[in-house]
């Protein structure tokens, strides 16, 4: 058993062994992508519900693709197309889902803790597709997979995460996963976005971007949520770009092999300059492909898939 729990709620709950185990399976699925027939019918006859209580395009499509490649039956709920609004408590939602006898639930919710709550009351497996500002474990795993493809073992490797850490579930999942694998993590952004209290998780906080990236092996550049901030956490997009944007000048100061992740979608010329976004250092399309593979791996493993039955693939 690679995964000890029936659910994937966060990288906080996963051990280093579990993370590496999942990534190994994900690497085998990535190898499958290059074959003419890309599906593995392990989920035939099983129902996966994608319950998105918050708008999301990329993550939902990535999950759907993963489910389709595993031949699952898919049901999509989202706030736009169903009655799941604030009026219904999550317990009501859970009871409805339980009555539908589904096999797996993928949940995206605006409230931190929502996935864990559902996992506690449902018998089926639950995968957290992002809960409030808490965790986004599949994003964390795909980021780590992308880093390991280039860096191998992450022990001692320097990862700098830049952006609104306080409100970022991507950042939290990265922090838990990367520190477990022995990476040295630095958080960078203005103090309005980077709570110093997070140093207790074993990471460094650095408000000066140049210093934060000087020795980095990899940058993970978070999306700035323009709508959230409107003049509270930073003065303007222009100033954010000037102080924390990944510009060509910043890139010139990086180690030669250093590369850049971004969870997408990008705000060009805010957190990342257009030239850098289109330049050779970014690995965004690898992240997207790895995202499908990681999600396939998790669904496969939670459904009792046999890791040995998949054949070899390059190690991630």
């Amino acid at each position: 058993m690679i995964l000890k729990s029936k659910d994937v709620l966060g990288l906080e709950e996963m051990s280093a062994e579990e993370i590496l185990g999942v990534l190994e399976i994900a690497a085998r699925f990535r190898a499958v992508f290059d074959r003419p027939v890309r599906s593995v019918p392990i989920m035939r006859g099983r129902t996966v519900v994608n319950f998105f209580h918050e708008p999301s395009t990329r993550t939902r499509i990535s999950f759907e693709l993963a489910e389709k490649r595993l031949s699952a039956d898919i049901v999509n709920f989202s706030t736009a197309t169903s009655s799941f609004k604030k009026g219904e408590t999550l317990r009501d939602t859970a009871e409805n889902l339980a009555a539908m006898k589904i096999d797996m639930l993928i949940i995206r919710h605006s409230s931190a803790g929502a996935a864990a709550y559902l996992a506690g009351v449902l018998e089926c497996s639950v995968i957290n597709a992002g809960d409030g500002a808490h965790e986004h474990p599949t994003q964390g795993l795909l980021d780590i997979m992308t880093m390991r493809q280039r860096l191998g073992d992450l022990r001692g490797k320097k990862v700098t995460i830049i952006g609104d850490i306080a409100h970022s579930r991507v950042a939290r999942s990265n922090i838990w996963g990367l520190t477990k694998l022995g990476a040295e993590v630095t958080l960078c952004g203005p103090p309005t976005m980077v709570p110093g209290a997070l140093e207790k998780l074993g990471v460094k906080v650095e408000h000066d971007l140049k210093r934060a990236v000087a020795r980095a092996d990899v940058l993970n550049v978070l999306r700035i949520q323009l709508e959230r901030h409107a003049s509270k956490s930073f003065p303007s997009n222009r100033e954010y770009h000037r102080m924390y944007g990944i510009t060509e000048e910043i890139v010139r100061g990086l180690k030669p092999e250093a590369f850049i992740l971004h969870p997408g979608p990008m705000n060009r010329d805010v957190e990342i300059a257009s030239e850098v976004a289109d330049g050779p250092r970014q690995v965004i399309l690898d992240q997207v492909a790895n995202g499908v593979a990681v999600r396939m791996a998790l669904i496969y493993l939670l459904s009792g898939g046999d890791p040995g039955a998949l054949g070899g693939g390059q190690a991630a």
Binding site: L90, A112, A116, P195, K200
Partner: protein, 443 residues
């Protein structure tokens, strides 16, 4: 004469109890003599009074009925959470005989008719004395002043917009002056909404880790400071509700030493629990002010021990099970407290060595009564016979089924506490009896 719980006689003796009043727990066994709803006498030993029914309270402490300066009984408007009747029963079960109700009902208690209505509802229930507070501003809108004079004449014991702060400093200053003239306090819910924003728990390590929006201490500290300075300038009486930060404790301590007329209360949850309790995202640990850090918890406990904080008040805030089934960020603020207050006090303050039992009882009886000038809270000859019998060593596990409140949103569910109420009397009449702890006699 044998004791029977079925019919409480007009005159009786309670014997073999340790009397606990005026900050002292009697070392020797004593008695309480009740006659026609009043305390006829009390003392050590056991008097021989031929023919009087005797309630043998061996193993129990006999204290004044507890006094709670901060409860939300939700009536009118939110009777699905609590009513004056169910709240009164919860109070009695917790050993309380007097409670001060907060005016943030729907509609708010903002006129004398509403004050009278609440007092009547309390009298109808007959289980607890209801001392209403009135709103500072009509509809708690924070814009103008209610008719304080008319409401005091109807029985209001103070004014507060609790649940919300009074953002308008000029209104707060005038309220303090005007209420001061009438001899009643303004109760401050010290919070700065522009600082807390959309916060749902204490701003610190746990909010950062859990990804929940934080409520900074500075909100409470700066508002407490503002209200104290307004009280200093006006000479009015400020009572600070639910103090939760080390900073606020220090501000109050200094103001008291400088002679400002300020009193303050703290809740059981703020002297017993810290913000790490939010780690499972349970809304049973969501309240306002929020659970803070261990240094705040210790400062609140020390403030109670040294008298900086005058008393314990529960901020009993019932919510339905459904409301507490929303996710942490969506659920309403507030937890119940009446039925666990004694157990939490004994477990976290007495058994941990912060204070002795006599002091704890004083903080739940005489001290709160004095802070708001309520004519209750002491066992003395001639006083009305409001008293509680409790077993300070009885261990029990808090269970949802055990609550008499209409709501069960307690932070202590599943926790083992020491100290439980056996029986509560108001004006010599039984208002609560724990069948398991009932002193012997036929039931």
């Amino acid at each position: 004469m044998d004791w029977s719980w079925k019919r409480i006689p007009a005159e009786f003796l309670v014997t073999n109890v340790r009397l606990c009043t005026q900050g002292k727990l009697g070392k020797r066994k004593g008695f309480l003599h009740v006659r026609k709803g009043r305390i006829e006498g009390l003392g050590v030993g056991s008097p021989t009074m031929e023919g009087l029914p005797v309630l043998d309270g061996a193993g129990l402490v006999c204290a004044p009925g507890f006094v709670d300066l901060h409860v939300h009984f939700r009536e009118p408007g939110q009777e699905e959470k609590e009513t004056v009747a169910t709240g009164s029963l919860a109070a009695a079960a917790g050993g309380f005989t007097s409670v001060v109700t907060m005016p943030n009902t729907s509609p708010a208690i903002d006129n004398s008719g509403m004050v009278r209505y609440l007092i009547d509802r309390g009298r109808d229930a007959g289980l607890c004395r209801i001392f209403p507070t009135g709103a500072i501003s009509p509809g708690r809108q924070g814009e103008a002043m209610c008719e304080f004079g008319d409401m005091v004449a109807a029985g209001a014991v103070g004014f507060t917009d609790d649940g919300s702060p009074v953002p308008n400093g000029n209104l707060m200053a005038n309220a303090l002056k005007y209420a001061g003239m009438l001899g009643v306090p303004i109760i401050s819910h010290a919070e700065d909404l522009t600082i807390v924003g959309n916060g749902v728990m204490h701003a610190g390590y746990w909010s950062a880790r859990l990804g929940l929006a934080g409520m900074a201490r500075a909100s409470e500290d700066s508002s407490t400071f503002r209200d104290i300075e307004l009280a200093r300038a006006s000479g009015g009486h400020l009572h600070v509700a639910h103090v939760s930060t080390r900073g606020a404790v220090e501000i109050i301590r200094r103001a008291k030493s400088e002679g400002v007329h300020v009193t303050a209360e703290a809740t059981p949850h703020h002297f017993s629990l810290d913000h790490s309790r939010c780690r499972e995202y349970s809304p049973l640990f969501k309240m306002n002010p929020p659970l803070r850090e261990s240094e705040d918890v210790n400062a609140v406990a020390e403030g109670l021990a040294d008298g900086t904080l005058d008393c314990i008040a529960t901020d009993h805030a019932p919510h339905t099970a459904t409301e507490k089934e929303y996710q942490f960020d969506q659920a309403p603020f507030g937890v119940t407290g009446l039925e666990t207050a004694l157990g939490v006090g004994i477990t976290y303050l007495v058994n941990s060595g912060v204070m002795d039992l006599g002091r704890l009882v004083e903080l739940m009886t005489e001290k709160p009564a004095r802070a708001l000038n309520l004519p209750v809270g002491r066992l003395e000859e001639g006083a009305e016979a409001d008293f509680v019998l409790f077993d300070p060593e009885k261990e029990w596990v808090v269970r949802a089924e055990g609550f008499k409140s209409r709501s069960r949103n307690s932070s202590y569910l599943g926790e083992k506490l020491s100290g439980k109420v056996a029986a509560t009397f108001m004006r010599g009449r039984l208002t609560w009896l724990d069948p398991e702890l009932a002193p012997r006699g036929e039931d």
